[in-house]
Structures are given as structure tokens and as C-alpha cells.
């Protein structure tokens, strides 16, 4: 099982090596991988049908509770077969569609990577594993959408798709983490067993929120739907594979997967029904006015996804059955229509429905495939689509108090979906053949057999539903329900209200198809609402955010050092002040302080004077001298208060600094004229406040009792262990010798820096 999932990744890694061998038409051999996977999964069918608990677990990161555990149940099986089955056809189709493309090898690499991630996603039992594969599908789809990387539009839509689905993925991760906290497991099967507790958990609302955002972004639900039409910039095989059959269904899969765990609450059902309903109506109305074939298909796909979410939201056994069947129905006919569109685009060079007509005369097999797909889409008997639609109406009619509204929404959606299916599948093929398409010829069979095969599946499953009912659909539905499903698919139910609704749908759909002609002007009319669409809102938000951050950055990071220092210092001052305001108790025990000798006072006075002088003098040399004096005063204080080592060091360092400064000073200009009085006062007040706070801080600390365990240890062991009597020196060279070593290293680096800086200038004139 692990090999089956990883084989796609392995292939993707091997492709750079293989592509030289596979040059030319041999790329079709790669289709063997999805095909064999398809057969492999088919071979599991009997066991899945028997309801066996197919859990495959491999150790991965046991410490973090992340194991490679995979679970093959009915739902996963349905998706696996879709992924590998349609995958095989797409692999075959691509070998002809992109024949001779210089990056064909790369394309197959991305494609198999995507397939593997998708398989991993639907098979994973561990939530974190689901997340990893979820993000992998986003990333590989980014490469696939942006495959024509020399086109800017293509790159842009790839980035848009990545950012929307990627952000959704992060939301999903949060949802999973919360779910783990609430349920105590990352394993899905374990969560399933504890599901009754979850709905009453306080975090339940948040879990739903994050999970929904993740699923809605991936499955292009309103208001996150807009990346999908953009993603149609991808080569058609990608649109077929990712955007009709598999990736966009990942969100659906997730929702379906979690229905038994989190479902059956008002929030779950209400949100899904509402979002799904809005999406399906919104997108299908958009689809009516498109003239680009892919655009029509993109919006009708969004609408179909909305329909599935809507059905999942209703949440009754009938609706879950309808959703499962419709996933299959939709994948079959939509993939066909996409493949057909690819052929039309490939052969005629246009996807404009207003120009395409009469192609039946030059590519009949393609026309037949498209016709069958359109029929299935329309739900005209005896196609599989008819069954699907029946189930949908059956579900909405039994949905409870709001059934009139829900059924109405479903009918309207289905009418429009029928229209779009006819538009994409029938109108390019009927009528007189325009002059410009006279030379168009049938492409290689590698391209037209896959859609024909898919479309025939749609008819065959409709005529003989028992072929898949027991083996595929029943296990799939049963993994959504806690109880075993009880249903029987058949074409003919007798005369009832469902049949009436179907007739209405088909009738008005066909009427609409004849009445409403697509044209540029109608598209333009719809486009006027573009500024209000979620896409424009999001792009506007992004731009606004960029502007805001630019303004914010310029406000703080204006390149003026003083500004930074001021901000930092002001913030620190406020921080300290707030802390002190909460309580200071200045009751210093005067007895504990050391006495004041007259020479102490004298030194401090000199020090204060020299500081004042350093700050206010107009001469740089005087300022420097005062700083030197101040340094010697400090040296004296060290000497008075038992720190001879410090005094010596301070003395020599002070001397050296002054010498150094004097050497450099002669090359610098005099003080520049100071700025306004106001700024000086502002800085002065800030400095005064900070100084006062430091003073208070010092006094505060002085009244705290002192703990000298460390000093005591050093004092006691300096001689006994390190054979030194100057404790300070022993600390430096022995106890903390390693610190000292790093310190002298730093010093050496500083010296090298200085000599490097100076060298920079001496070499400068030569370079010029």
C-alpha cells in the first residue's frame, strides 16, 4: 500500500533520469503506472465490499504520533478509482496532446506527483498526514497550473490558486490541531469512535470554522471560488484531472469524510447547505454567460461542487447517497467535456463557442463522446446522470421543512447545468461547418479514445447500475453513515413527482439552450459586476494591505538612526515606568549603606561636572577630554571600593580610547549646528526620564536582600581548586575560562574588522 502511494513520487524523482530515454512518443509508457494502480485498487474491491477493516500502518514519527497509517474504505476506494482511472486516461491523452513539448518530462513529473499526493490524501487515516498530502496537492497543482511559465497570466493564476488553497490548508491544520485537542487523537478511526463527544465540545464551532475554510478553498466554494476559473490557464489535461475529477473534490472528500464525525448538527448542515446552495446558483448563473468553453466548464464545475456540498449539507441518508453518486456522475461527464474541449482547442485553435460549430463533420467520434457526456450532464435517460438527478430530487424532496426551497434551488441549478453541458458538448458539433474549420481533422486516437471511454461509462452505468452499485457505491455510502445503507439504483421508478421534476428540468433546459445565445455583449454585461466579486475584493484587500504595510514601515523604518533609538528608548521608558507605577517601596535601610567619605564626594562631583561638560560643550576635544576625566573618576571609584583589577583595566582602556579618538578626531568636521530647541527639549526630557528610572531601579534593587551563592562558591574554591588567590582573575582564566576565550576571539574579530575597514579606503583610489 505504501508503495502504491509513493510510486508516483518515486516516478517523479526518476523522471529527470528517464526523460532522455523516453524522448519522443515513448512517454505514453508512463501511463502504465496509473493503470496498474487502477488495477491494484480494483483488486481490493471484494475486500472493501465485504466491509473488512483495511488499515495499513507504517511507523514514521512515532514520537509525534504521526504514523503512515492508511485506511481503504468505500469512500477512499471511490476516490482512488477516480484518481487512478481518470489519471490513466489523462496520462494517455497528454502523451498526444503535448507531443513534442520540450518540458513533457517535467509535466509528467508534476502529474504523477499530484496523483500520488491525491492518493495519499484520500487514503490517509492520520489527520496530520492528510494535511501533508493536502498541501502537496496544492503545491503540485501550482506547478501544473503555471506549467506555461512564460505566460504572465498563467503564473498569476497559479500563484492565486496556491495562495488560496495554501491558506486554506493552514486553516485546515488549525482545525486538525483543535480536533486533536478535542478528540484526543490524530487518527481518524479513533476520532470516529469518540464522535458523540465532539459535537458538544466547546471548541466544536471553531473546529467547524477552520475545517470549512480549508474545504471551501480547496473545493472552490463561494466566496473562495475565483481561483478555479483562473486555473483554467493550465493545459487542458490539467484542468481535466485537477479541476473536474480530483483536486477540487478533495474538499468534498474531506467534508464527506468528516460527516460521520462532526456532522448531524445544525451548524454543520446549515452552513454546508447555505454555502453549497449559494455557490451552485451563483456559479451556474455565471456559467450561462461565458463564451469560452473552458470558462463555461469551470463555472459549471464550481456549481456542481456547490451542489455536492449542498447535498452533504442536507445530511439525510438519501442526500448522502445522491452526493456520492453525483461525485461519480460529475467526474465522468465533466472529465469527458474537458478532454473534448482540449481536442477542439488543439485542433481548431479556439475555444470560443460563438465561433465553433459543425465539428461533427470532421471529428465524429469526439462529437459522439461529447454528446453522450452532455446527455449524462443533462440527466436524460438512460444515462447515469439521470440516475444522479433522480437521487438529488429524491433527497431534496425528503429534506424536511424547507424542501420546497431546496428543491427549487436544485431544479434551477440543474436546468442551467443542462444548458452549460449542451453548450459545451453539443453546440460546437452541430450546425454548418464554418469555412475556417474545413481543414480540421480528427486527432490521434490517443486523444479521442479516453473521452469516448469515459462517456460510455456514463451510459453503461446508467443502463446497468448494478455493475457498480454493490461493489462501489454501497461501501462508499456506508462509510458516510453510521448505519448500513439500504437502497437500490434503477432507471425507472414509475410516474411520480421526481419524474415530473426531471421532465421540467430537461424541458426548460432545452428551451433555454435554444433561446439564450451566448455573445460577447452578454459577457460584457456580466463583467460590469466584476468590481463586486470576491476576487476583486480579495485583490483589493491585498493591495490595501501592501499599501498599509508600506506606510507603516516608512513610519517606523525611515532610515534615521536617531528615530530608531528614540522609539526604542521611549518604549523602554514607558515599560519601566508602568512597572514602577505598580508599586515601588523606597525604604532603603540607611544603616546598611557604606559611609560617605569626603574624597568620594569630590570624585562624584568631578564626575558630574565632566559629564555635564561633555554633553554641553561646543568643542569636540573638550568633550572628549571630559569623557576621559569621567573614565578616570570611575577608575577611582573602583579603586576605593575594592576592585583593583577593574581600576587598572578601566585606566588603561580609558587611556587607549582617548588616544584612539584623538587620532581620528582630527579628520572629522566640527559639530554640525544642532536642530531646533523643541527637539532638544524632547530628547532631554526622554533622557531625564530614563535616567531617573534607572536611578529608581538601582535604589529598588539595593534594598533587596543579596544572594551570593555563586560568589561564595568562587571565594571558597578559588585557592583550593584553582590555586589562585585573586578571585576575579581565577574566575576569568579558570572558572569561566571558556567565556574569556570567546571574548578574546571577539576582540580579535573587532581588530580584524577595523583593519579591514581601513584597508577598504587605501585600496579605493586604485580601483577608480
Amino acid at each position: 500500500m505504501l508503495l502504491a502511494i509513493l510510486s508516483g513520487f518515486i516516478l517523479a524523482i526518476l523522471l529527470p533520469l528517464l526523460k532522455n530515454i523516453l524522448r519522443g512518443g515513448l512517454f505514453i509508457l508512463l501511463s502504465a503506472l496509473p493503470l496498474s494502480l487502477f488495477v491494484y485498487f480494483l483488486s481490493w474491491l471484494p475486500e472493501v465490499k465485504a466491509g473488512g477493516d483495511l488499515l495499513f500502518s507504517y511507523q514514521w514519527v512515532p514520537s509525534a504520533n504521526v504514523n503512515l497509517s492508511f485506511q481503504l474504505d468505500g469512500l477512499a476506494m471511490l476516490f482512488c478509482l477516480l484518481i487512478t482511472g481518470i489519471g490513466s486516461l489523462v496520462f494517455i491523452y497528454t502523451s498526444s496532446y503535448l507531443k513534442g513539448h520540450p518540458y513533457l518530462g517535467r509535466f509528467y513529473g508534476y502529474l504523477s506527483m499530484f496523483m500520488a499526493s491525491m492518493l495519499g490524501l484520500v487514503l490517509s487515516d492520520n489527520l496530520l498526514l492528510i494535511f501533508i498530502f493536502w498541501e502537496l496537492t496544492s503545491i503540485s497543482s501550482f506547478f501544473l497550473i503555471g506549467f506555461n511559465n512564460d505566460s504572465e497570466a498563467s503564473r498569476k493564476s497559479a500563484l492565486l490558486a496556491l495562495s488560496i488553497t495554501g491558506i486554506g490548508g493552514l486553516f485546515l491544520l488549525v482545525g486538525f490541531v483543535l480536533l486533536n485537542q478535542a478528540g484526543g487523537h490524530y487518527s481518524f478511526t479513533a476520532l470516529l469512535n469518540s464522535s458523540p463527544d465532539l459535537a458538544s465540545h466547546p471548541m466544536y464551532g471553531w473546529i467547524l470554522f477552520f475545517l470549512f475554510i480549508g474545504a471551501f478553498t480547496k473545493s472552490a466554494q463561494f466566496p473562495f471560488h475565483f481561483w478555479l476559473p483562473g486555473a483554467m490557464k493550465a493545459p487542458t489535461p490539467v484542468s481535466t484531472y485537477l479541476h473536474s475529477a480530483t483536486m477540487v473534490k478533495a474538499g468534498i472528500y474531506l467534508l464527506a469524510r468528516f460527516t460521520p464525525v462532526l456532522g448531524e448538527t445544525v451548524w454543520w448542515n446549515g452552513t454546508l447547505t447555505l454555502v453549497g446552495g449559494v455557490t451552485m446558483l451563483y456559479a451556474v448563473i455565471h456559467a450561462l454567460f461565458r463564451i469560452d468553453l473552458k470558462g463555461i466548464l469551470a463555472y459549471s464545475t464550481i456549481s456542481a461542487l456547490g451542489l455536492i456540498v449542498f447535498l452533504l449539507g442536507i445530511g439525510t441518508p438519501e442526500s448522502l447517497l445522491a452526493a456520492t453518486v453525483f461525485i461519480l456522475v460529475h467526474a465522468l461527464y465533466k472529465a469527458t467535456l474537458f478532454l473534448v474541449t482540449g481536442i477542439i482547442d488543439h485542433e481548431t485553435g479556439t475555444r470560443d463557442v460563438t465561433r465553433l460549430a459543425g465539428l461533427n463533420k470532421v471529428m465524429l467520434p469526439v462529437g459522439i463522446a461529447a454528446f453522450m457526456a452532455a446527455l449524462s450532464n443533462a440527466g436524460i435517460p438512460p444515462t447515469f446522470g439521470f440516475l444522479g438527478k433522480d437521487l438529488i430530487y429524491d433527497a431534496t424532496l425528503r429534506s424536511g421543512s424547507l424542501f420546497v426551497l431546496l428543491t427549487g434551488a436544485a431544479v434551477v441549478t440543474n436546468i442551467c447545468l443542462l444548458f452549460t453541458g449542451f453548450k459545451a458538448g453539443i453546440s460546437p458539433f452541430v450546425g454548418p461547418l464554418p469555412q475556417e474549420f474545413k481543414q480540421v481533422h480528427l486527432p490521434s486516437p490517443l486523444m479521442w479514445i479516453p473521452p469516448l471511454l469515459l462517456a460510455s461509462c456514463g451510459i453503461v452505468f446508467g443502463l446497468f447500475p448494478f455493475l457498480i452499485e454493490g461493489s462501489l457505491l454501497v461501501p462508499a455510502v456506508s462509510s458516510l453513515l453510521s448505519t448500513a445503507p439500504d437502497f437500490h439504483l434503477q432507471l425507472w421508478h414509475g410516474f411520480n413527482i421526481i419524474l415530473l421534476l426531471s421532465t421540467i428540468t430537461i424541458g426548460s433546459g432545452i428551451f433555454l439552450f435554444y433561446y439564450l445565445q451566448s455573445s460577447e455583449s452578454k459577457l460584457a454585461w456580466v463583467s460590469r459586476f466584476e468590481p463586486f466579486s470576491p476576487k476583486s475584493v480579495l485583490v483589493g484587500m491585498a493591495k490595501g494591505f501592501a499599501l498599509f504595510s508600506a506606510a507603516w514601515t516608512n513610519l517606523w523604518q525611515n532610515g534615521k538612526l536617531r528615530h530608531y533609538v528614540f522609539t526604542i528608548m521611549a518604549f523602554l521608558t514607558v515599560l519601566l515606568a508602568v512597572r514602577f507605577l505598580q508599586g515601588i517601596r523606597l525604604n532603603l535601610n540607611l544603616q546598611s549603606l557604606s559611609d560617605l567619605a569626603f574624597y568620594d564626594v569630590a570624585v562624584l562631583l568631578i564626575m558630574a561636572t565632566s559629564i555635564l561638560f561633555a554633553v554641553f560643550t561646543k568643542s569636540r576635544l573638550q568633550a572628549l577630554a571630559s569623557v576621559g576625566v569621567m573614565g578616570f573618576c570611575i577608575c577611582l571609584i573602583f579603586l576605593f571600593y575594592s576592585a583593583p583589577d577593574l581600576a587598572m583595566t578601566q585606566f588603561s582602556i580609558d587611556t587607549l580610547t582617548v588616544i584612539l579618538f584623538v587620532l581620528v578626531l582630527q579628520k572629522l568636521p566640527g559639530y554640525i549646528k544642532e536642530e531646533s530647541k523643541a527637539i532638544m527639549w524632547r530628547d532631554g526630557i526622554l533622557a531625564f526620564c530614563f535616567g531617573t528610572l534607572i536611578c529608581i531601579l538601582a535604589l529598588e534593587v539595593l534594598q533587596e536582600p543579596l544572594h551570593r551563592e555563586i560568589s561564595k562558591y568562587y571565594a571558597e574554591n578559588a585557592y583550593t581548586m584553582a590555586k589562585g588567590k585573586n578571585v576575579v582573575n581565577v574566575i576569568l582564566v579558570d572558572f569561566r575560562g571558556f567565556d574569556t576565550m570567546v571574548e578574546i576571539t571577539v576582540l580579535a574579530i573587532a581588530a580584524l574588522g577595523v583593519s579591514g575597514l581601513l584597508r577598504l579606503s587605501t585600496r579605493k583610489p586604485e580601483n577608480k
Binding site: 588616544i659 584553582a722 590555586k723 589562585g724 576569568l732 582564566v733 576565550m741 578574546i744 580579535a748 581588530a751
Partner: protein, 136 residues
């Protein structure tokens, strides 16, 4: 600045100050002093000399550029820290000779460490000051 008295004095001061700096270095383990202060005093001696006699003359005293003192000192410190490893003791354990040496007193790995510090400090200060003096 380069008065005769100053120059003559600087010539005598240099060896005296150097001697003093070594004295400070060696007594550091028992009394105030040590590698840092010793190194600083030694470098002040050289700086004084170079101000009085010109940088070229000071450089002549050295057979090499003072920059080399930095890696030398660093290596000395490092090896004095590493030496206990040879006798199977942890890094930077203090090792001492049993008997005190005449004049110097007890000699141990800490002393070599301090000499390393001393050399690095001289190297650092002289490198900085010399480069500046050269560039003026």
C-alpha cells in the same frame, strides 16, 4: 609633540613598561593584575613609543606585524585549555606543576591561558592603533 625629552623618555619607558606589564601578568593569579591589564599596559607602552618616535621606528622593534600576535595568543589559550585532554581530564581542567618555579611561582595551564589573553590584547590594540596611524 615630538619633543626631545618626550622621545628620550619614551625610549626608556618602553622596556620599563614592558617589564612592568609582564610583572602584572605573572602576579595576576595572586594579586591584582592579569592578562588583560598586562596586555593593555604593554600596548600603551608601544603606543607611547610610536607617538614619540613615529610608527616606522616602533614597527622596527617588531620583526613581524603585531597582527600575528592575535592568532598566536588565541592558539596558546586554546591549547592550554585542550591540554588536560591529554591526561584524560575534561576540557579546561586546571593542571599545575608540583613545584613552584623560581621567580615566577606556581606554573599551571591557567598561566598559559593568561599569557594567551595577554598576547591577544596586545595584538588587538596594536593592530587597531597601527592601522589608524598608517592611514593618517
Amino acid at each position: 609633540m615630538r619633543s626631545l625629552i618626550f622621545r628620550t623618555a619614551a625610549g626608556y619607558l618602553l622596556p620599563i613598561l614592558l617589564l612592568f606589564s609582564v610583572f602584572i601578568l605573572l602576579r595576576g593569579h595572586y594579586l591584582p593584575g592579569g592578562g588583560f591589564v598586562g596586555g593593555l599596559i604593554a600596548s600603551i607602552a608601544f603606543v607611547l613609543h610610536s607617538i614619540a618616535n613615529g610608527i616606522e621606528n616602533t614597527k622596527k622593534i617588531f620583526k613581524f606585524h603585531p597582527r600575528i600576535l592575535m592568532p598566536m595568543g588565541l592558539c596558546l589559550s586554546l591549547f592550554s585549555g585542550l591540554s588536560p585532554l591529554l591526561v584524560n581530564k575534561p576540557f579546561m581542567t586546571g593542571l599545575w606543576f608540583k613545584e613552584p618555579f623560581p621567580v615566577i611561582g606556581m606554573v599551571g595551564s591557567a598561566l598559559f591561558f593568561d599569557i594567551g589573553v595577554y598576547l591577544v590584547v596586545i595584538g588587538v590594540v596594536l593592530t587597531i592603533i597601527f592601522t589608524i596611524l598608517e592611514s593618517i
